[in-house]
């Protein structure tokens, strides 16, 4: 008993006192579920306006949410041990499909990112957003922590292969996000600060060669445009100028729901997908932004809380990585729309219209719930 208590500091007594309820048996983390429901509901109201009061768009997004919630619930039932066992297989399949994209992929807007099977299209890179942290966490879980140098190198190799395959699609944004999700696992696993600072120094040092030899012209253009949108008012700068105008003109109070002129008069491009936050900012003002950020922060805190409370190191690493990745989505999207970061195709999590990201994100939350409701004392 003493052993048990030592293994589970701060926990135990409270949970033990409670009788397992239905939600507990369904592996549902109630605070997380409530926050996500709030977020998606808020998102749908914004989407209704951003899509030009198109109820069909809202219903379609609602269906994606339904599918996402289903996958989340199913994902919550899977034990962490099983996730860890599945990880290498999922990773293998993921790499195989990414290779398939390179050879037989379907293109859209000049990039080859899709795979078509029997009329169904899907984006293998999207799945890798979950699989990469999963496989690295599973790989590290069985080893001494903090990981040693050769283990770190091996983990990085697991990350570099898919990231590289996605870069050549080309989809730099997704590739960086996937790399980040893997690196977050390493970070949460406690790799030495010397690695972290070393990586930062390396990143800064490689900026020059990457700019000159690594980036394509349109990618450079996006970065340049971010610093000076006026240089190309009608071209690449248009999006940023219009989204900043939308956000700024919202002020503190906003123009009111369904009153955004920037979006409704078509000045704001992609207003219901990547740039939806500009519509929210225009209609609800800074108050609306604070409300949205409030919900996001609570979800993030709950994520970190679940990580702190996780029973296994696999769960801890996954929870930390999933939470941080979720945050990166928020940061990159809000930053790019406000002209802080270059425009990369990152949707605002659970608010932007689109099916794939909703399903992936909710699957991630399903995993988080699995971690949160992991049976005490059970570990990999």
């Amino acid at each position: 008993m003493a052993d048990y208590v030592r293994q589970l500091p701060n926990q135990g007594s409270r949970d033990m006192a409670r009788r397992p309820s239905t939600v507990r048996r369904l592996h549902i983390d109630v605070p997380l579920l409530v926050l996500i429901l709030l977020l998606t509901a808020y998102g749908l109201t914004v989407l209704y306006s951003a899509s030009g009061e198109n109820m069909n768009a809202v219903v379609r997004q609602g269906r994606y949410f339904a599918l996402g919630y289903l996958i989340m619930l199913l994902g919550a039932q899977v034990s962490l041990a099983r996730y860890a066992r599945w990880a290498p297989w999922l990773y293998g399949i993921g790499i195989a499909t990414l290779l398939a994209v390179v050879f037989v992929g379907v293109g859209a807007k000049g990039a080859q990112r899709w795979l078509e099977i029997g009329g169904l299209r899907f984006q293998p890179s999207e799945i890798m957003k979950l699989v990469v942290p999963l496989v690295i966490a599973a790989f590290l879980a069985g080893r001494a922590l903090p990981p040693r140098f050769h283990i770190v190198i091996a983990a990085l190799a697991l990350l570099v292969v898919p990231a590289g395959l996605i870069v050549i699609q080309p989809d730099l944004g997704t590739s960086l996000l996937i790399a980040a999700s893997g690196l977050f696992v390493l970070f949460m696993a406690g790799i030495g600060w010397r690695y972290i600072f070393g990586a930062i120094v390396l990143a800064i040092a490689s900026a020059w060669p990457v700019w000159h030899y690594g980036l394509k012209n349109y990618q450079k253009q996006r970065i340049l445009t971010m610093f000076d949108p006026d240089s190309d008012k009608l071209g690449a700068g248009w999006n940023i100028i219009q989204s900043k105008t939308a956000i700024g003109s919202g002020g503190w109070e906003g123009k009111g729901w369904l009153q955004s002129t920037q979006s409704r008069l078509d000045f704001l491009p992609e207003s219901h997908t990547d740039f939806i936050i500009a519509v929210l900012a225009e209609e609800q003002g800074l108050r609306g932004i604070l409300l949205l950020l409030g919900i996001y922060v609570l979800i993030l805190l709950r994520g970190f809380w679940i990580g702190m409370r996780a029973q296994s190191r696999f769960g801890r690493m996954m929870a930390g990585s999933l939470t941080l990745t979720f945050f990166v989505y928020i940061f990159v999207n809000m930053g790019m729309v406000a002209g802080l970061l270059p425009v990369v195709g990152v949707p605002l999590p659970l608010v932007s219209a689109g099916g794939t990201s909703v399903v992936t994100l909710l699957a991630g939350f399903g995993m988080l719930m699995a971690i949160s409701t992991e049976q005490q004392g059970v570990s990999t």
């Binding site: 080893r143 922590l145 406690g190 700024g248 800074l286 932004i289 941080l324």
Partner: protein, 617 residues
Amino acid sequence: MQVQFEIKDPQREARIYALRTAVAILFVVLCLVLVLGRYYALQVTEFETYQTQSEANRVQLQALPPRRGLIYDRNGVLLADNQPSYTLSVVRESVADLEATLAALRALVPVSENDLENFQKKLPRSRASEPVPLRFRLTQEERARLAVNRFRLPGVVVEAQLLRHYPHGELFSHAIGYVGRINEREAQILDETDYRGTNHVGKVGVEKYYENSLHGDVGYQNVESNAHGRVLRVLERFAPVPGKNLTLTLDYRIQRAAIDALGERRGAVVAIDPLSGGVLALVSTPGYDTNLFVNGISSSDYAALRDSLDVPLFNRAIQGTYPPGSTIKPFMAMAGLQTGLVTPLSTVPDPGWYSLPGDTHKYRDWVLRIRGTGHAPRVDMKMAIAESCDVYFYDLARRLTIDRMAEYLNPFGFGELTGIDTTSERGGVLPSTQWKRQAMGQPWYPGETISAGIGQGYMLASPLQLAVATSVVATRGKRWRPHLVMAVDAQPVAPTQSAPVQAPADYWDAVIDGMREVVHGARGTAKALANGIAYEMAGKTGTAQVIGIAQGAVYNESEVDERHRHHGLFIAFAPIESPTIAVGIIVENGGGSSAASPIARSVIDTWLAQDTVARSL
């Protein structure tokens, strides 16, 4: 092995994890502060900048051009109206590549070099947000083609606008003129605000003279438009004030009668209401289709008009000045009476020619070559006018002298602009010693006075001036400024009176008597007109030499090149008891006055016939 590690130091692991979580939260908080700071800066600090920008995006001020005033004849017949027409315009601001857009448009609809040139000229003068017209009068098919391709042509707009239309084309070309596209020179003169949104301006004639009344006042509207420049709704509107409608003194039927009577010949007819100066007909042939000018005449059409030997663009009625010939005689007679040099009954011997004392040069009378003698042994004023005796007026002119001639003819309106309310009028020449010194730097020769007495030589008058002078006789001295506009927006325009010609009634009777004899006398030079006439007409024939005829040579019409034939002139008014119409007519190279006088009969008949109709109603 793995299990050993795990169990070995879970507390250290938990500590590391907690620290990492703390670092992660710190990172998250820092990033969120950055993002929130950015949103704060945009939404609070720079709120006004972006609010303004958003409004500027959304709201645009559009000029609403006023509808141009309509033009009617005195009976309400429409002479100029506005018809809806579709114009293809380009908004520079919304076009990424102007050259490419123009090329694409030219592939869809025909755009002439002329259209393109006008477009390029107007482009730098217009605001970037303003549509600049490229092609006018799109056909339905062209509109459909543009509509189908609209999605790939941002910044291209098809607008309905009202375009000037002249239902009667050539018939009123010289009477009312036309509007045309505003050119660079005009753009600098015209008020920029008033003409924002207006593409046309009066170029010639009444259309130009009354531009201020016809144009109206520009209106404005604030519109909400989307990113593609499409107007979604009107937020605020200040309606334009339409231009004023003009009612002209012209009478469609008289105008028609004059044109028909002139036929294919070159010439001019001016008919005036002597009681007010209102112009009833103002015709110059050949005319031209004014509708051609509304949207910029094509260079080939213009070249055809410009290079025609018949100079159709020349307004013979007011710009054309001709030697008045014998039509000057009634006014000369009046001068003679007023100076006391002749009386209605005084006579002059007429051998058929006249010589200055001490000079062998014979000034021949026109009857000399026909009869071999003069009109009669002695000729009085009535006969002199009726038979157009040259000798009578040679003698009168010599005694009058050229300067007194100028002094007494000027009150009839010779040698000065009549002040008619239209453009490009010319005042002709009323010669005097002073005029010749100034104009030619030469002294006046006595012989020149003799030919001036019968309206030859330096003297020039327009058909309008002849009509005005005739109406002064008709009203026995009253002179009104001739005018084309009777009412502006149904408000009558008061006619203006000029200084009258004051003379005793018997002087007028004598002159008018002579003029009656021209038409109704047995030996009147226009006695053919009296055939079947239902009223009394006073007239005077005239012939103007186009080329000089050598002393002793004989003018033979059939041998002379058509363009060297004499001009035929005729002035008249009717009915004599209470005149309601006075006319001045010229038929270029008509051979003689007999080409002009039947036109007067036709015009006056038409006028008096409808006058009776009007009175009987």
